[in-house]
Amino acid sequence: MNFPRNTVFAALAGLIAAGTVHAQALVKVDGSSTVYPITEAVAEEFQKAKKNAVRVTVGISGTGGGFKKFCRGETDISDASRPIVKKEMEACAQAGIKYVELPVAFDALTVVLHPSNTFAANLKPEQLKVMWEPGAQGKVTSWKQVDPSFPDMPLKLFGPGADSGTFEYFTEAIVGKAKSSRGDYTASEDDNVLVQGVSRDKGAIGYFGFAYYIENKDKLKAAMIWNGSKFVAPSAAVVEDGSYQPLARPIFIYVNAKSLERPEVKEFVEFYMKHGAALTKEVKYVPLPANIYEVNMEHVRKMKLGTVFGGVPEVGVKIEELVKRETKE
């Protein structure tokens, strides 16, 4: 019997010796899974428009994981479902990475109920806090405890896992401190699991991104949320005019300033701002007001470096006010 020894060894040696990668225009994007569908759509269209002369790759490492790679200079653009935080700003500064912060769309959290639930159709953030704060663990188990007018029905909670940006924002907006939540709820990183869970349990309540609610409208009911002056049902219109508070937030891309000197990256970002609104709608997210994309373009041209948040997350800021602020590096 003949063993193909030589071929195998030759192949191995060749693999290890292969040193040069082809220099072809490549834009590397990584980061949040929330922003991913938008960036994916933009990348798809951009490559088509460029007739595949420019290659774009998009990864999902989560907002935090994305910033880690971004601040090591491994990626050109980072998808982020929350603003960059202090620790990440320091890491970037240390590596000499400067960046432009661009809001690209809104992400609205939807509080969902079983379709038969009529008593909790209107909810106030304080009531949500009673359900979700860490102190409620093991204690708040019936709807009656949330509000005396609610029936004595078992309260079943569904939400995303602790690594998700959605979880971070919801706890920040409702409980008042990011990542602070009760632990005894059904957690899943897969939002479709949450959809199934809430749609099968009469006493269920859960939260996740607006897109998952829209796709499953027939199985779920969205709660109207008190924004300080009235109850608002989630919709593209109220998210855009800023009245769906505190559960709507802008999501971002961060562009490495040095990468912006490369024509393919600059063109990709410009393409993002030009076609972002239409593509955002197509993937069931809420686009920003049209003029914001123009302001973004202006920021790219002027290389407005740094973040307007200064490393501290905020709840309920108006997008128009946000883009006018001074940045910090």
Partner: protein
């Protein structure tokens, strides 16, 4: 002379033994069916949901935001290439290590320690290999987030399986074969290359395939070293383009693999993507089955050639 009551007792004894025999037979079938039926139910469910999505376009399209035009081209090419690298690295290394341990290594405490460690390595969670590879291949050796890094990572993962399978099948060769060869004046290497390897190749192959079947479905270590989710181009083919690519340029290209593509689709809000995920899962299972089928066929061919 046996008394009638003795015969009765013996019959009762036999009847009892047979009852137990039947009982364990049924128990065994139930145990087997739990596994088989669970797998069949899952597979059928996936097939029913996925097969309507399977057409030529599904294999030749890149991922897309539109579920209907999204395909698995970059994923299946990525998986295939990663598997090629894995096989090229794990098979020669694993077989050489196995042969050395069985035929060359002196039997002492050092080899005992090595043996125990290899067996333990087979049980290490795959994410640990991913983290090791991230530090070693991606950063230390500078191979980047490439097909080569992924292939080598999975090669590490299945190396213990290949080594153990190699050793088991070498041990199954009768000692007389070995002694006959030495008696004719053959060196150890001559014995290994002319007798041991050809006779054990069927068993080794089985081990390699079991290892590869595990590697093809691995997601955690591949994500750790930085596989992408959206990639709408293929690695450069050897000698393609201008200036022409090198023979192995594809090995350093960014990539994605089938399980990652599938996972991404299951977590999308649109129901149409779930059908895509089922279809991708179906293809992945078929790829594994095809690999197993090839192994069975090769094993049969190799066994026929053995003339002891």
């Amino acid at each position: 002379m046996l008394q009638p009551q003795d015969i009765e007792a013996i019959r009762a004894l036999i009847a009892r033994a047979k009852r137990w025999d039947a009982f364990f037979g049924v128990l065994g079938i139930i145990a087997l069916m739990i596994g088989v039926l669970t797998f069949s139910a899952l597979f059928l469910d996936m097939a029913v949901r996925g097969i309507p999505r399977l057409d030529l376009d599904f294999f030749t399209n890149f991922p897309s935001r539109r579920a209907a035009s999204a395909g698995i081209l970059s994923a299946w090419v990525g998986t295939t290439l990663v598997m090629v690298v894995t096989a090229c690295a794990a098979v020669p290394l694993g077989i050489a290590a196995g042969v050395y341990l069985e035929e060359y290594a002196p039997k002492n405490w050092l080899t005992d320690i090595i043996e125990i460690n290899i067996t333990n390595l087979a049980g290490v969670p795959s994410i640990v290999y991913g983290l090791l590879a991230l530090g070693l291949f991606v950063y230390q050796f500078g191979l980047g987030q490439s097909i080569l890094s992924a292939g080598l990572t999975l090669a590490l993962l299945i190396l213990p399986v290949v080594i153990v399978a190699t050793r088991e099948s070498i041990r199954a060769i009768p000692v007389s074969v070995r002694e006959g060869s030495y008696a004719c004046g053959a060196t150890t290497w001559q014995t290994v290359s002319d007798h041991i390897l050809p006779y054990s190749s069927a068993g080794i192959l089985t081990g390699v395939i079991i290892g590869m079947a595990r590697a093809i479905g691995e997601t955690a270590p591949i994500i750790t070293i930085g596989a992408l989710t959206f990639i709408a181009f293929l690695p450069t083919a050897p000698f393609a383009g201008d200036p022409p690519a090198g023979l192995f340029d594809w090995a350093l290209a960014p990539f994605t693999v089938m399980p990652i593509q599938m996972f991404n689709w299951t977590s999308r809000p649109e129901a149409a993507f779930l059908a895509n995920a089922a279809a991708a899962g179906f293809v992945l299972v078929l790829m594994t089955l095809a690999m197993n089928g090839a192994a069975i066929w090769l094993r049969y061919r190799l066994r026929k050639n053995i003339k002891w």
